[in-house]
Subunit: 404 residues, 2 copies
């Protein structure tokens, strides 16, 4: 077994405010290669601490991934620590320097003198290009260990790892992971439903993970259990059917987007309590302009009437959070945009604004097409953020089921 260790570097990661998250991404990638993470260490921007952490990692691990501390400031010491620990010099890489200077020029700025240090490379190391920031990564082999120094920001670390780090990694027997995403069922119910499959697994490992309005079922199998993985996956599919909205890591918004595109249909949305989150999720997908027309966020009753043509007496009689208003919003936005589908959300996200009759978490979702308008009532629990997310999840799920 190849043993890996992840060292997250940065004093902010030792504060009460920040957690290291890069290690989750890296762990997933390492696991797919059959490499097990045996330890994670978090240390500050301090040379002695860094050297000590590297020494510890050399004792217990074969692969060492460091994130952070590659920037231009005096706090950025990861390169220095590696050289101090291995007692090797650092050399200026002229080509690397030219690249960093050009990067700044492209943004119409002159490279500050401090960035020069990012072109220093430990002797014998390979430099890993960074297409999303100025800090190049570093790869070095020493005493049979593989050491990767990666930048801290996830949007720099992830593409660098994918493109330049991963191909250098020594691999063991690969693991295969099958993921099922389930939109609107509680964790305990999914776990119970899957008992007939999961209780008889041999080499395949089963994990269930819960996030608000989102359950993931993971099946992890070593290469030699590929057949068991296939049959277990088939059983999971047979049991959960339409509750599964995606296999592997496609998000609900990506899936709905794909379905809309396939059918050449367009959607428009009208939101109240979710305040734009539904539109934001849909348009988070590149290319969504093909199937998304417009989104209307109406907080005030006047805006609902004026923009979505919701009759004021409907709001008067039933309240803004009601089945008839959700219906009228969905129809209003569909007409306004001349779209195939109108999707609406009105509800109470809290923490204030709830009553006994209409508590926090009460949400109506409307879906209108050329034939009819469907409205469903939900009662979500949790924080404001959670209720908002659950509401958009339910809305996207409603559209998904309609498109299937």
């Amino acid at each position: 077994m190849i043993r890996a260790e992840i060292i997250a570097i940065g004093s902010e990661l030792l504060s009460p405010f920040r957690s290291d998250t890069n290690s989750l991404y890296l762990t997933r990638s390492l696991e797919e290669q059959g490499i097990r993470v045996v330890a994670k260490t978090i240390v500050g921007d301090d040379l002695d601490s860094l050297v000590f952490a590297l020494g510890t990692a050399f004792q217990r691990s074969d692969v060492i991934l460091c994130s952070g501390g590659l920037g231009p400031t005096i706090d950025d010491l990861t390169r220095d620590a590696l050289c101090a620990f291995l007692k090797i010099p650092m050399n200026l890489d002229a080509q690397l320097l030219a690249g960093i200077e050009e990067r700044f020029r492209n943004f119409g700025r002159k490279m500050p003198e401090s960035n020069r240090k990012q072109a220093m490379v430990p002797q014998g190391a390979i430099s890993l290009p960074n297409h999303h920031g100025s800090a190049p990564g570093v790869y070095l082999e020493a005493s049979g260990k593989q050491i990767f120094l990666l930048p801290g920001p996830p949007f720099e670390l992830e593409p660098m790892w994918e493109k330049y780090g991963l191909p250098l990694l020594r691999k063991e027997q690969a693991y295969q992971r099958k993921v099922f995403r389930i939109g609107m069922l509680p964790e305990s119910q999914v776990d119970e439903m899957l008992k007939p499959v999961t209780s008889s697994l041999r080499d395949v490992q089963y994990t269930i993970l819960a996030a608000p309005s989102e359950i993931e079922v993971h099946l992890l199998a070593p290469e030699n259990a590929a057949d068991e993985l296939i049959s277990a996956s088939a059983e999971v599919r047979a049991i959960l059917g339409n509750w599964i909205y995606a296999e592997d890591l496609e998000t609900m918004e990506a899936l709905v987007g794909r379905l809309l595109k396939q059918r050449g249909s367009r959607v428009a949305v009208a939101e109240s309590c979710t305040g734009g989150l539904l539109a934001e999720r849909i348009t988070n997908i590149a290319g969504s302009s093909e199937y998304f027309d417009c989104g209307i966020v109406t907080y005030s009753n006047e805006a609902k009437a004026k923009l979505l043509n919701v009759p004021p007496d409907l709001i008067q009689s039933f309240g803004a959070v009601s089945e008839p208003v959700a219906k009228s919003m969905a129809e209003g936005v569909r007409e306004l945009a001349n779209a195939d589908y109108g999707l609406s959300i009105t509800g109470i996200a809290g923490p204030d604004g709830g009553t006994e009759e209409k508590p926090v978490g009460l949400v109506f979702i409307g879906l209108s097409d050329e034939k009819a308008t469907l409205v469903k009532e939900y009662r979500f629990i949790g924080s404001r953020a959670r209720i908002r997310f659950s509401s958009t999840q339910a809305a996207l799920n409603l559209l998904r089921l309609k498109l299937l």
Copy 2:
């Protein structure tokens, strides 16, 4: 300075799905006592790994806090590891056993034999009562180090620490932290601007943290450097002035919301490339209905014309991503909503859709009030998500500066 280390124990914390969060709580508590966390380690439920991690912690730290691994199963090895590392025996504490047995009786159950091991106490240790679970904690002094073994679940760990751990802790003087949040400057520039202050700090510690379009400057001072903290903070304020959008941890959207509320003003937003994210951020704040009227997400040119009254020939002549269209969108949404401010974003979030003349990252932001309309041009870098976030940050910042 007293140096602390937190060891989080549990194989699930080495999976791609779970982060240790206890350490954030414990760090806050330790910092308030003037104790600095110098390292965090995460290891699995494995005796050798645990013993090794304890050895490492003994080398670099004075206070060692372990969380997890105190349960009744064979996976729970923290006590065993401590005894193995210190080469001390464990003894059955009859009183503790009676307590655990009683706890089970109170729930109408008989104590399983496996729980007996939770009554085993390392020689010389003090047992820390657990009022929220069956696993008692452990406190031990050895070689001048203070070692605390705490249960993993936060609802057990936190009250145990508060009531029984904290009072045993050797304390130093307390630290004070000052945070400045800066909206729209790059990290290296802020770092450079602050050199005159930061290069001459004596007892105050300076850290700079970067997230997309968001920089945090932290100053951390021991009690006896309170004066230095005050004067350094004043210098930071003098240098960065209006670039600082908040002191301490208020978000940009919360700050803008507070300013709008103070002035009794209302805003409406029109978005293209950010697809609802601006409205979403504003309405993320509870009570935002007081100052947010509506948001219009217009992806298509038809929607811009129909909803926001953007003249089609303007789009024809200058393109949807242009200064005149941003201006027209801001004015259009302000009129539509009859709001005090109209805020608009139009740009190219990528990854596709860029041209040489109008590259990915080009964004125009408009702000209209009763007197005039201001439009600013930005060029953001990074992924689609980052460009979208940066755009909303710039829009909120523009409104903030107007409101000041």
